[in-house]
């Protein structure tokens, strides 16, 4: 989707065109869901959070100024919803069994031990650090986009990503003998 297409769809969605909004959701759902899955750490709830983020974005579309991309804006809404939900419900439970079932369905690529080690290490990162890592290393957002989404200074995001990466790499060390 080109930026022009996105602008046109946003303008149509602002006027209440739900088909235009569906096209926007379709184009950006993978990035938002992927980020929230990495940030929230468990699967079904993350999609609920992503759904809530898109519904909130639809409601607040009038206040979207276009300074960032639509994808960044919705990811930011999702991040704040996820953080507030976690605060409201206390420490989120890590549903290892569900997660492992999902992991076993992924064929090829990284060994399952690595994926489990990384997932566990991600769950242990502080929230802001995990969000920065999920955005920049997981979803390929730039540092400045992540700073905009997380409403943090650019230097803080860079530092979160560096420290987070170091911790994740350390988590892979016990499996290094392969």
């Amino acid at each position: 989707m080109t930026p022009n297409d996105e602008t046109r769809l946003i303008a149509a969605a602002r006027k209440g065109d739900s088909r235009a909004y569906a096209a926007l959701v379709d184009a950006h759902q993978q990035a938002v869901r992927g980020f929230l899955r990495r940030f929230a750490g468990h699967w079904a709830d993350a999609d609920d959070l992503a759904q809530e983020a898109f519904v909130t974005a639809w409601r607040k579309l009038g206040s979207f100024e276009g300074r960032s991309s639509f994808r960044s804006w919705v990811s930011g809404i999702g991040f704040r919803i996820a953080r507030d939900t976690k605060r409201a419900h206390g420490r989120a439970q890590v549903r290892d069994s569900d997660w492992l079932n999902e992991q076993e369905n992924v064929e090829g690529g990284a060994p399952v031990e690595d994926r489990i080690a990384v997932q566990r290490a991600m769950a242990e990162l502080p929230d802001d650090q995990r969000a920065a890592v999920a955005l920049c290393l997981g979803e390929g957002f730039s540092h400045s986009e992540a700073a905009d989404i997380l409403k943090m200074p650019l230097g803080t995001v860079k530092s979160h990503v560096t420290r987070g990466r170091e911790r994740l790499l350390r988590a892979l060390e016990p499996n290094d003998e392969r």
Binding site: S18, Y21, A22, V25, D26, Q29, Q30, R33, G34, R37, R38, D47, A50, Q51, F54, V55, W58, R59, Q103, V106, G109, A110, D114, R115, A117, V118, Q119, V133, L137, G138, R165, L168, L169, L172, E173, D176
Partner: protein
């Protein structure tokens, strides 16, 4: 494979979702139902306001009518007179029109 590559592979695969049309559908359904609820609430608020205003006006009129009962009676009589006059005029017009055609 070095540790950086393993990390990239593990991070890339651990959560990447496939594009899911049912997710889009669920979002649009939820958004539409939220919009419907908001519209319904606004409509209820509007009609509730109108009903409250009408009730207030009714109460004020009832209070005024209690104090000025003579004027109310005169008003009712005058309105009745006007109504009777209009009804008679219409009746006569209806009877005269066919006669004029003939």
């Amino acid at each position: 494979m070095n540790a950086e590559a393993r990390l990239a592979a593990a991070l890339g695969q651990s959560a990447a979702p496939v594009r899911d049309p049912s997710f889009t559908l669920a979002v649009i359904r939820a958004a539409e139902s939220e919009r419907f609820r908001a519209d319904a609430a606004l409509s209820m608020l509007r009609w509730g306001g109108l009903a409250a205003a009408a009730a207030c006006l009714g109460l004020v009129l009832a209070g005024w009518a209690g104090v000025h009962w003579d004027e109310v009676q005169n008003g009712i009589l005058a309105a009745g007179g006007i109504f009777a006059l209009v009804a008679t005029a219409r009746l006569m017009t209806q009877r005269l029109a066919p006669a004029a055609v003939r």
